[in-house]
């Protein structure tokens, strides 16, 4: 059952002129959240903006004894709602509803895990990496951004023992180009006998390209999709994704059937 809290802002870390991480005191939601789940957030009361916005749970905040005290969201400023989230001040109240949606299926050794993130699509991979590493899964993060300055939290993933493969569009850090290029090469080089699960989150074009290379190399791939979402509860039918099932194509609500979906069933444009 989802929980709705008027969560106090306990921190707001600006990462760049567009990206920020907002820490929210929502311990019950944090304690219940599984990797890949999301929350619906509304940073202001009243009618403008009216609707909540979906965000992956980025970090589970814990006290010194490991008890969840809250969660954070990774946001990119693109409109009025994300501007409010960028500008939020400590002690402000933010409505947080969650945890919502179907989480990632977390693999176990000997299966290796490769996470593919583009830009703000990094968001669901902190909690996933924690879960994978806690099980001893060999984990790699393929992470692409526009510039090196927008590759965030690399130290966190290194500290978790995650191998990094970085790309930037301007070549200022890692390999120049898109993140799917090194993924494709590494997939081609990998023995077909070595089991592997792919996890992807990022822009639609990146997800479609990831799904293509995963299929070409016969690897399963779970993608976390992002759609315009009205309610997060299955009520409004706005966040649908066309998916193959039972010989046809059906519009599936990504809020309750997802946001984590099987890449090979999605009909990519």
């Amino acid at each position: 059952m989802p929980i709705d809290v008027a969560a106090e802002v306990i921190g707001n870390r600006s990462l760049s002129s567009d990206y920020n991480v907002l820490a929210l005191a929502a311990p019950a939601i944090a304690a219940a959240a599984a990797p890949g789940q999301f929350v619906m957030v509304k940073a202001a009361g009243g009618c403008d903006p009216l609707l909540r916005r979906p965000f992956s749970v980025f970090e589970i905040l814990r006290d010194t004894s490991g008890i969840p005290t809250g969660l954070s969201i990774l946001s990119k400023r693109i409109g009025p709602s994300t501007r409010l989230i960028y500008d939020a001040q400590p002690r402000d109240r933010v409505a947080v509803l969650g945890p919502l949606g179907r989480p990632f299926t977390v693999v176990e050794p000997p299966v290796d895990a490769w996470m593919i993130a583009g830009g703000v699509g990094l968001a669901p991979f902190w909690t996933l990496a924690e879960a994978l590493r806690a099980r001893g899964v060999q984990t790699t993060l393929f992470y692409g951004a526009r510039t090196g300055a927008e590759l965030f939290y690399l130290d966190v993933f290194r500290a978790l023992g995650v191998e990094l493969a970085l790309t930037t569009e301007d070549g200022s850090a890692g390999e120049r180009g898109r993140v799917v290029a090194p993924l494709d090469r590494r997939l081609a080089a990998r023995s077909a006998d070595a089991p592997l699960m792919l996890y992807a989150c990022g822009p639609e074009g990146m997800l479609a390209a990831t799904a293509r290379v995963a299929k070409a190399h016969h690897r399963p791939c779970q993608v976390s999709v992002e759609r315009v979402m009205g309610c997060g509860m299955g009520g409004c039918y706005s966040c649908v994704v066309p998916m193959r099932s039972g010989g046809g194509v059906h519009h599936v609500r990504s809020c309750i059937a997802g946001p984590v979906l099987a890449a090979d069933q999605i009909v990519w444009d």
Partner: protein, 312 residues
């Protein structure tokens, strides 16, 4: 205060109804809301067959509102009866089904299937969806069409029959009259207002269907006016909706003439809104010494203030 209201033979424990298209099939919200605590729930519109609806993007936010063109995606009436209705029945929900059709025969057929099913309390006749070409709006925008479809379904079912009216007409009250004359037990209004949002940078529409239906607090004053006009025009009950976001909004519709109210868009923002709305109504009832909320219906005081001061 007694919160019960009656819409013909349909008795509701309170006037709060979840609006069609805003509450899925109800089961989606069963973990968040005690479905039996609502006066009723109107499930998402159903045709005979399954429909996939429009491609995304299907909604866009607007000032104090939202535009949607879902395209009546739905599982079809038979799957609803088999797969969803048993759970709704087990949870003691008062189930009102929004019935769609592309032809008179389809409206009749869907209504018959629901009449034979166990656990349907009433039918809301969708003659007002603005988002699909062949989905009832051709009935709902013509007085003859409205009369014909209500008459045909009236002959096919004894369930309480509530045509849902579109506001996209010149005189909505005349449509309420046509529905009443054809045997409707009540009318519900308003469905959404046809509207449009354009991205000026790309010059593209913000939703795939180009146009869609506007809902939310932005439309509320227009909806209240239309409920008021219909209340004046017909003797059957009026179910009011359009941008209700708190108890005061609901009470406003009731004072204008609504016997019951539906809440849609606000449920997207706050799925836990229902007990808050009920508490707000009870508070109001205490402050105003009401014994029955039904006494509030149509109680709008239009006397001139001067008159009220000077008359003895």
């Amino acid at each position: 205060m007694d919160l019960a209201v009656a819409i013909g033979s349909l008795h509701l424990k309170n006037p709060l109804i979840a609006a069609s298209g805003c509450f899925g099939y109800g089961v989606e919200y069963a973990d968040a809301v005690d479905l039996a605590s609502l006066g009723g729930i109107v499930v998402k519109g159903l045709f005979l067959a399954e429909r996939e609806g429009h491609p995304a993007p299907r909604i866009v936010e607007t000032p104090a509102g939202m535009l949607n063109a879902i395209g009546l995606q739905g599982i079809g009436v038979r799957r609803f009866v088999d797969e969803q209705l048993p759970e709704l029945r087990a949870r003691n929900a008062t189930v009102i089904v929004n019935v769609c059709g592309t032809t008179l025969d389809e409206y009749v057929e869907v209504s018959k299937i629901l009449s034979d099913a166990e656990g349907v309390a009433a039918i809301e006749l969708n003659i007002s969806c603005p988002n699909i070409k062949e989905g009832g709006i051709q009935f709902g925008c013509s007085l003859h069409g409205t009369h014909d479809v209500v008459s045909a379904v009236r002959k096919a079912t004894r369930l309480p029959l509530i045509p849902k009216l579109t506001p996209n007409v010149t005189d909505v009250a005349s449509f309420a009259r046509a529905a009443e004359e054809a045997g409707a037990d009540a009318v519900s209004l308003v469905n959404t207002f046809l509207a449009m949002v354009i991205d000026v940078e790309t010059r593209r529409p913000k939703i795939s269907n180009i146009v869609g239906g506007l809902s939310g607090p932005a439309i509320r004053p227009i909806a209240v006016r239309m409920v008021y006009e219909c209340r004046q025009a017909v003797k059957i009950p009026v179910v009011g909706m359009g941008g209700i976001a708190d108890a005061r909004d609901a009470l406003e519709f009731m004072i204008a003439g609504a016997t019951a109210v539906q809440v849609g868009t606000a449920n997207f923002v706050d799925p836990f809104i229902w007990p808050k709305l009920l508490d707000g109504m009870r508070d109001y009832g205490e402050r105003h010494h009401l014994t029955r909320i039904a006494d509030l219906v149509g109680s709008l005081d239009t006397r001139k203030k001067d008159h009220a001061w000077t008359s003895s």
